[in-house]
């Protein structure tokens, strides 16, 4: 018998270039608000560390370090890794353990420290997530994979770059209102549309940030939830999907097939439809990724994603508010922390606890998190339901 599971608490470090901390201090920063709420170590049965890429710091066996540093050294722990979707993969793993009855209360901690190496080195490390034999020798960086999608999308649907720039403008508009964001500044459209090229057709403002940071959530089994909160956020639907490893092998580059499969599975498990979703946190590692996510999550028909952008339906008072915390673009993208940060943001929005009313979405009953790894080889979609 599968038990219902809820997110009952969360914490979040400041995202940015955190030369003042290593991953252990970042984890403590994310756990501190949870501890201060009274969820002390003795109330946590086990933990999962979401830590995607140990090459950035050289720190192996990260879950032992993290657990020890925050006082969970006597509790079982493990590390999960699946590229940029590590955060929600960790949540999925923890959900499975709690739903199955192995543990009642678990901490999911996501962390990454990426700024101890240069941008070129970070780009090198991330390019090795492509096929080392057939893609890596041609210098296909992480932005390059998404630029291949962008070129194809722009050609098939005759879309100008302006649409992508407007997504960046929206992300930075909200990121500027998020004190935890890595780059909390607004950018004008012209600047977003004409920034220096990184991987054409993508420019600097089409790309997410190389970020240090941590985020954490606590999940609990249904019969224990009331011990922790009267405002639980139920995990209502979980979908996971996968796609071909080499991007050239995908039948289409204007969609991520694994994301469509993951979304479909999540909606089915939750028993709801895309029109029921009140807010979404999507994996905007690049602006084109956010655009494709609108379509893969069912908020727009194929090729119609640009209409959401043109009509500003992705703002807080629009039909489907998306990434109103700044997203990976402005808030930042510490790989292992990202999926956990998405979960945290949905919980805070449901509780009406956005730091500024100007980015508070009204009356969130259902929130969706769409977390993509590599260029779509791994995808997790979560649907959360307000429990009060």
């Amino acid at each position: 018998m599968v038990r219902r599971v809820a997110v009952v608490a969360g914490g979040h470090s400041k995202f940015g270039k955190r030369y003042d901390a290593t991953m252990r201090e970042l984890c403590a920063e994310a756990y501190k608000p949870i501890y201060d709420e009274g969820i002390t170590q003795d109330r946590i049965d086990a933990s999962v560390l979401s830590y995607a890429a140990s090459q950035f710091t050289g720190q192996g066996a990260g879950s032992a370090l993290m657990a020890d540093y925050i006082g969970l050294q006597e509790k079982p722990h493990l590390r999960v890794e699946s590229a940029c979707t590590t955060g929600t993969a960790s949540l999925r793993a923890a959900w499975g353990m709690v739903a199955a009855g192995l543990y009642d209360v678990m901490l999911v901690m996501g962390v990454e420290q990426m700024n101890r190496v240069s941008s070129a080195t970070a780009t090198e490390y991330m390019s090795r997530a492509g096929d080392m034999r057939w893609e890596y020798p041609y210098g296909i960086s992480f932005p390059a994979f998404y630029a291949l999608m962008a070129s194809r999308y722009m050609s098939e649907y005759n879309m100008p770059h302006d649409i992508l720039a407007k997504i960046a403008v929206k992300s930075h508009f909200y990121g500027a209102q998020n004190p935890k964001a890595h780059l909390p500044k607004e950018i004008p459209f012209e600047e977003a549309n004409n920034a220096i090229p990184i991987c054409r057709p993508l420019n600097l403002y089409d790309c997410s940030l190389i970020t240090d940071g941590a985020a954490a959530v606590v999940i609990a089994a249904e019969d224990r939830v009331k011990e922790f909160t009267d405002r639980p956020m139920w995990i209502k639907g979980i979908g996971a999907g996968a796609s071909e490893n080499m991007i050239q092998d995908r039948p289409s580059l204007t969609t991520i097939p694994g994301a469509k499969r993951a979304a479909k599975a999540a909606y089915k498990m939750a028993g709801i439809e895309p029109k029921d979703i009140n807010m979404a946190q999507v994996h905007d590692c690049f602006t084109i990724a956010e655009l494709i996510a609108y379509e893969d999550c069912g908020f727009a028909e194929p090729g119609k994603g640009p209409e959401i952008v043109e009509n500003k339906e992705n703002y807080i008072d629009g039909r489907i508010p998306v990434n109103c915390d700044g997203g990976l673009k402005s808030k930042g993208h510490p790989l292992g922390a990202t999926g956990v940060s998405m979960t945290y943001e949905i919980m805070k929005q449901m509780r009406g606890e956005a730091e500024k009313s100007s980015r508070q979405i009204k009356d969130v009953k259902y929130g969706l998190a769409h977390n993509v790894g590599q260029s779509g080889q791994f995808v997790n979609v979560f649907i959360f339901e307000r429990g009060w």
Binding site: S118, S119, A120, T121, T123, E124, M126, S127, M132, R133, W134, E135, Y136, P137, Y138, G139, I140, S141, P143, A144, A147, L148, M149, S151, R152, S155, I196, P197, I198, C199, R200, P201, M246, I247, Q248, D249, L253
Partner: protein
Amino acid sequence: MAEKKELYLGYSTDKAITPFFQNWLEFLDQEKLMKSKCGKCGAEYLPPRQHCQKDMSECTLAEVSEREAKLYSYVIVDFAPESLSSKQPYVVAIGEFPSGLRLTAHITNLTSMPEVGMKLKLGFDKSPDGKMVTYRWLV
């Protein structure tokens, strides 16, 4: 027995050379692009796989006879991974042959912006010392 020639693919090396891959590289050194074909179900793979994705049978190499393709998608890499930073900017393209097989490679002789759908021709290249061999797209 003659010593095997040391060959690597592309512009930065993946040094995990297996006998199957070595054999494929030696064909490439002779300017022959080889796909692989499953001996059991006939499935074809480009780039080649030693094992069929469908039934795990051993595949054999067969030459790709097509020389012309269309540009399926492209990227101009302005900011490269560290290992290829000396070559930036460069253009990576996915070309699609009439048979439907696709190949990812650099376009090395562009004089204007690439366009999806434009014609590509298959070419070959090697480093001055002859150790790095590769295929490439030409316009």
